[in-house]
């Protein structure tokens, strides 16, 4: 066996590592953008959590920018981002649509009663079908839609003051949403 052949394993390894690095890099890039970015939000027809008789479709989301937040009572991170969602709901005009993902409606309602409800409307996705359409990895996830119902941004993980300041607020400004700074100027609905 020649000396050089002893380096073959090292060479093969470097090759594999390169591939692994590229794959990893892809993974990191894929994490935030969703396959839906700049594409229309999927068609859906979901029951409302608070009023199961009534349903909502994609058409109801059109006309103004909206924030779609996927949450569940089984998700501790959802609880930790809840405070920030409440703040956003109270201080801005943004329409927040909740998607109650793979959850039990009774527990979800109890949760909202206990911690407060930041959502303008909550969709009941107990079997996770809407979640599949949206390409949800897990909860919480947040999607920003423009007035045409296209996804402009997706965040996997919690919403916190830093994310609001760096990611969400500038995008909402771009979309032309009035962000009132305090409660007094909030437009009562």
């Amino acid at each position: 066996m020649s000396r050089a052949s002893l380096f073959i394993p090292l060479g093969v390894f470097v090759l594999i590592m390169g591939l692994g690095y590229i794959g990893f890099d892809l993974g990191a890039r894929n994490e935030l953008p969703s396959a839906l970015i700049n594409k229309p939000f999927p068609e859906f027809n979901a029951r409302l959590l608070e009023n199961p008789e009534q349903t909502m479709t994609r058409a109801d989301l059109l006309g103004r920018p909206a924030m779609v937040n996927v949450w569940a009572t089984w998700c501790p991170t959802c609880l930790s981002e809840h405070e920030e969602l409440m703040r956003i709901a109270q201080t801005t005009d943004i329409v927040i649509v909740g998607v109650n993902y793979k959850d039990r409606p009774t527990k979800a309602l109890q949760w909202l009663a206990q911690y407060g409800n930041p959502y303008d409307v909550v969709l009941d996705d107990r079997d996770g079908l809407l979640g599949i359409e949206m390409g949800v990895y897990g909860a919480p996830e947040t999607f920003l839609l423009n007035a045409a119902g296209e996804v402009v941004y997706k965040r996997v993980g919690d919403i916190n003051p830093r994310i609001w300041r760096d990611e969400l607020e500038p995008r909402f400004r771009q979309l032309g949403v009035t962000l009132s700074a305090n409660l007094e100027t909030r437009n009562p609905q």
């Binding site: 002893l6 591939l19 692994g20 590229i22 794959g23 501790p76 793979k102 959850d103 990895y137």
Partner: protein, 646 residues
């Protein structure tokens, strides 16, 4: 308080790992440092145990202020699942990994009497360095002791219902014991490269540890496959899923290592190849950890995506594997030996074995990584599925069986052609059997018939040699272990070939009191009742199975479970396990009028797949108890005076 103690214990273990690696590697010949390094190894073990105990305590005490507990447990969970939930997620399972690493290191120290002290110290230094990497990974990127304060939830999110199962209590510890156990041959190989010495004695040391780790890995993979079979409700037992492949790759490398070590021990050749395999086997353990924990490949059982963790493991992998392969490239040349052997010799057949195993390894590696490469180059996604793997593994497996049939009669170095007479006789008998099977099979398949014939051939030649040896006198444990493992391989391959092609599977709509026929049995659906488990409610279907003539009645009760926390729906199959065949029922969806969609399977020889694998593992363990390893154990450590050839 207790979780903080756990965190503190883990930090102490990290400090001791740092100390142990510095002392073990810096001055392996200094008497004081030698003893210090060894005691630090025991310290690492003790403190990892303490950390792990603290985590288990947090689970048992329902301390939901610990984020990991809140994510993985629930007050309603039975106590044994609370304990096993400790390794149900990424952070805790990695702490278990560290604890098992500590156990292997402590075991190696306890057995250190048989090695020269400077060599032990080097090995422990290398192991401590690896352990340091593991502990830092846990402390900095996946600490299981992080608190959720002040947002402490009232109750936890519950353990993933898929993991609430006996199989999952024992599967990860065994699998990790196998993965991490491969660190010992790795460290032995690196120490041998550092010392520039590889000989029969080294191979004998290495064999014991390799066999044990390999046997545990075998059991771990088998349990995982068995779990997937009865818990996922699809009736499949191997999916070529990236995570399964991640455990299969180190197994293939370790299997090759077990065989090549035998050549190095008995004939003093294959040396640098053996060293390379020892490095490779452990590298694939690490690669498996990277694949499972970085989210590069998504799969049923992978953990949450976290780029930071992936980057850490990638860097760790680069350092460990890159470092050891560089060392190999620089030093392995000294280990080469020129020892000749004929074509009809054990050496040559071991070479065939190793080539087949390494080719299989390359196939699995390609099948696992190609999707990433494809995505990197084109941005598209492909999936490489079962057909790709089958196309390679069917011929490779049959070839391996054919080579194995010759092994019992072969001697080291060269074998007289006349001894092959018995092998040909056995081949004749097996071929007749194969042809008979071919006519019986429906659908007739030449591949299955040849698998049957080849397995029979392997069993016949091994059984004949075994009886010859028995008549001649005492049987060494190593020989018995080898025979058992080869029987296991034949049994497993036979099981795979038969169950993969001869199973029947039907999806039917069954209304109450209706019956269908399944492989000669009458299956009657009596109805569905509601039952309540500790943390779930379930709809339980009651099925009565009888032979065609009405005899042998028994009941199967597959369930559809709804877990309270999280609302997950799980299918619990009803399985009548048999040595020759399994009957497997699972409930699908409820249909109108009290009817249900029901999936019925009949799986001949499916148990043989796992029994064969367990036989292999048993053979591997048995071989460790051979006299030549025992004798060496009793020997006092005089070997410190060995000349060093480095």
């Amino acid at each position: 308080m207790i979780p903080e103690l756990g965190n503190f214990a883990l930090s102490l273990a990290a400090v001791l790992a740092l100390g142990g690696s510095v002392m073990g590697l810096a001055a392996p010949r200094d008497d004081v440092l030698q003893r210090a390094a060894m005691s630090m190894v025991f310290g690492q073990w003790a403190f990892s145990l303490l950390a792990f105990a603290a985590l288990v305590y947090a689970f048992v005490a329902d301390d939901f202020s610990v984020a990991y507990v809140a994510n993985q447990s629930n007050t309603l969970l039975p106590w044994y699942y609370k304990v096993s939930a400790a390794w149900g997620g990424h952070e805790g399972s990695f702490l278990l990994w560290i604890l098992i690493m500590g156990c292997w290191m402590a075991a190696f120290s306890l057995r250190s009497g048989q090695y020269p002290l400077h060599f032990t110290t080097r090995v422990l230094g290398i192991l401590s360095l690896l352990n340091l990497g593991f502990i830092c990974f846990a402390l900095f990127t996946s600490n299981p002791f992080l608190r959720l304060i002040p947002l402490t939830p009232a109750d936890g999110a519950d353990l993933n219902p898929l993991l609430q199962d006996f199989g999952l209590i024992v599967h990860p510890p065994l699998l990790y014991a196998g993965y991490v156990g491969l660190a010992i041959p790795f460290a032995l190989a690196v120490a041998a490269l550092l010392e520039g010495r590889v000989d029969a004695t080294w191979a004998r040391w290495c064999r014991t540890w390799t066999n044990m780790a390999w046997a545990m890995l075998t059991c771990g993979i088998t349990l995982g496959s068995w779990w997937a079979y009865y818990e996922l409700g699809w009736g499949g037992w191997w999916f070529w899923d990236p995570v399964e492949n991640a455990s299969f790759m180190p197994w293939l490398a370790a299997t090759a290592l077990v065989h090549s070590l035998s050549v190095t021990e008995n004939r003093g050749t294959f040396k640098s190849w053996t060293l390379l395999l020892a490095i490779t086997a452990f590298s694939f353990s690490l690669l498996g950890a990277f694949i499972v924990r970085s989210g590069v490949l998504t799969s049923v059982h992978s953990f949450a995506v976290d780029p930071e963790r992936g980057m850490y493991i990638l860097i760790f992998l680069a350092l460990v594997v890159g470092g050891s392969l560089s060392l190999y490239a620089a030093r392995a040349g000294q280990a080469s030996a020129r020892i000749g052997y004929g074509l009809l010799s054990r050496e040559f057949f071991m070479l065939i074995n190793n080539v087949i195993l390494v080719v299989s390894l390359a196939v699995v590696l390609w099948g696992t990584l190609a999707p990433i490469g494809y995505e990197a180059l084109t941005g598209g996604r492909i999936s490489i599925g079962t057909p790709f793997f089958n196309a390679f593994f069917v011929p490779l497996g049959l070839l391996l069986l054919a080579a194995l049939a010759f092994l019992p009669v072969l001697n080291w170095k060269r074998t007289r052609v006349e001894v092959l007479g018995g092998v040909y006789q056995a081949m004749g008998i097996a071929a007749v059997l194969g042809v008979c099977v071919w006519f019986v099979l429906d659908p007739a398949s030449i591949v299955v018939a040849s698998a049957v014939a080849l397995s029979a051939w392997v069993v016949l030649t091994h059984a004949k040699q075994l009886s010859l040896r028995l008549r001649r006198g005492r049987l060494p444990a190593a020989y018995l272990g080898m025979t058992l493992a080869h029987f296991g391989f034949a049994m497993g391959t036979l099981g795979i070939a038969v169950t993969a092609t001869q199973s029947t599977e039907t999806d039917v709509r069954m209304s109450p009191q209706s019956s269908v026929e399944l492989a000669g049995q009458q299956v009657t659906f009596t109805g569905v009742i509601d039952v309540l488990g500790p943390n779930y409610s379930a709809q339980q279907g009651i099925f009565i199975l009888t032979e065609a003539d009405g005899s042998n009645a028994y009941e199967l009760r597959p369930e559809k479970r709804q877990y309270f926390a999280g609302g997950n729906v799980m299918t619990e199959a009803g399985i009548a396990a048999g040595f020759f065949a399994d009957t497997y029922l699972s409930l699908g969806e409820p249909l109108e009028g009290g009817a249900w969609a029901v999936r019925l399977h009949y799986k001949p020889l499916v148990r043989w797949v796992w029994l064969g694998a367990l036989l292999m593992a048993l053979g591997g363990v048995l071989a460790v108890f051979d006299k030549r390893y025992a004798r060496q154990r009793r020997k006092r450590p005089v070997a410190d005076a060995d000349p060093v050839t480095a």
